[in-house]
Amino acid sequence: MQFMKLHHKSSILLYLAIISILTITILGCGKAVKKSGKITLDLGMWSSSPPANKLVQDQIDAFEKKYPKIKVIKQISVGGNFNEWLQINVAGGTAPNISFINSMIVQDYIGFGALKPLTKYYTKEELKAYYPNLLKGFKANGIVYGIPKDFNTLVMYYNKDMFEAAGIPHPPRTWKELEETLEKLQTAGKQGKLGKNFKFPMSTLMQWNRFNPFVLQNGGRTYKDGKLLFNSPEACEALDWFMSLVKKGYIVVPTRMGNQSLGAVLGSGFTAIMFSGGWQVPYLRQAAPNLNYGMAELPMNKKKGSMLYTVCYSILNVADYPEESAKLLKFMTGPEAEKLTAKAGQAIPSRIEESKLFMKLYPEQKALATSANFSVVYCWGKGSHRIDKELNYVLLEMYINYTQGDKSLKAKPLLDAKMQSLKYAQ
């Protein structure tokens, strides 16, 4: 009997121990911000590659040296979707103090009041140090909510050896030249002059952001000042022209050549031209070290146009220590940090002065930086993701129609219908 009692007591004790461990675990999930008089700031980011992580760490180290009372911890998003991760942390009260914000989602974050206006922390003169086209992407009603940390643009990568073999003297500068170039490449390819791997003259992704340069070059816009304009005559004309190139078999998606990525099809000699950003450079260096390629500005029509892929640092409204966060933000997008960006060479510094250093260090990638002067930021306003998806469908639907179907779809009715359905959804 005595034993039974003891047994009973110990099981109750065990039970209580389990409960207390659980409670402590759950309560312990909150974060400690202040340690030994030092302020700790969290910096939210995603991890694209080990060198990219190292660059941020180097910049943080430089910041901590300058402000010894502030400690910065990198909060790297778990899982593939940064936007998802950040939203959960904002809702859960564990948001980082400052964070990467992609240009695509920034207007939504501003709309929900998640970001702090930066007017207080920057003078007009200070803002002039950045490419104006870049800053535009992070403004709403004239107020800046994020400072771009770096950027990339779409440029034309071309295989120099293939151009030479096909008798093309220089990369195409206009739409007309582009069409002629593609034709020459196709003919030379059929004659076997471009190597046994060659399949198609040009490859691109069927994504609206990759197509949008043509809209810009034709004098149109997909989105401007809160308005969607993707069914304008300029845009429709550009799309019909682009599909005429698809119809002639000049342009295909990389999967058509058995590969997911553009870099891979250019690197393997399957194609001669791709429109892509600076992120292909490290890939090509590693995967196709012998590829003799060049990078040029995209061809123009009525004007020049390309895309800006950029990420800013913003201060989250829900987080503590706005003043210290502003110091960190200013440093991470300041000259000292961006010099490190320029040297790292993974993306172009958002500050005009530091981007010149990049061009000096990497002259072969100059087109990436100069394209910033006539490019627009990748963002279609509030609900960008939805709009982007819908526009991609139009492009893909036309592409499928022009490669597998009856090649009869026209841009205007499709884009008009899309505009109607998007208006309904909003």
């Binding site: 109750i12 659980l22 759950i26 936007n83 904002v90 929900f112 050549m257 993701h385 991609n392 309904y424």
Partner: protein, 296 residues
Amino acid sequence: MKTAISRKKRKETRDGWLFLLPFIILVSIFFIYPALDAFYLSFHKYSLLSTQSEFVGIHNYLNAFHDSVFIRALLNTLGLMVIAVPLQLIIALCLAMIVNSRIRGKSFYRTAYFLPYVTSVVAIAIIFMFLFKDGGIVNSIIELLGLHSISFFNNTHWALPLVGIMVIWEFMGFYMIIFLAGLQNIQQSLYEAAEIDGANKWQQLINVTLPQLKPTIFFNLIISMSTTAALYGLVVVISKGKGGPLNSTMTMLLYIVNTAFDDFQMGYACAQGIILFIILFSLTIISKFIFKEETD
């Protein structure tokens, strides 16, 4: 004496509840509360970033049935359930009977068939993408046969069936193991009796095996339906989270996640989740009704 017994009983009841408490707490925090919250949010316009939610009544539910992408996701998911679930269970049952028979190397086959289930979905998706890509092994075979190669992942007609094949292949091992357990539970004497009565193998299957397996089939059916309805990882990998080409691989769960996080419409996403729940719940009730006698 009487009071001593009742005191002991009371103590036992109390201890019973105490031991149940951790489970109740965890389930309440991680399942019941979120479910109720999702139900509440489904009547609101709400984003995780917003500080307030606005009551919109049944607008989110009405919106779902006007949303062509949602309808597409619903049809895709139901289509997968109608095709993949029965196929999966039939294949799993056949495999279970094979590995339950007196063949050599039984354990090897059991392991081999179960392997896909413990393999990461990402790995499975990548293997299939490698096999079915343009210029891949499957297309080479098709070309050898003198047919036109198919761009499986860019083709709106082929992408979803391919997802179905992956789902079948991934989960059949799991259902096989459950069926195997069910088969081994059937008393050998029943077969002996059937044999004495002159039943052939086929008659034994129809009249002994299947009726005896009913509870197992019911269990597998429910699990298989809910796993197929909750299909997410595979399509995320093969369509890069977009459900493409042209929404042909958009599943309910993928669309719910996209609506909540990409479109910042958590309230609407919750309404979609509730609709999915209602569908699954009704299907479960219907199945339970069909398998009534055995599961009571």
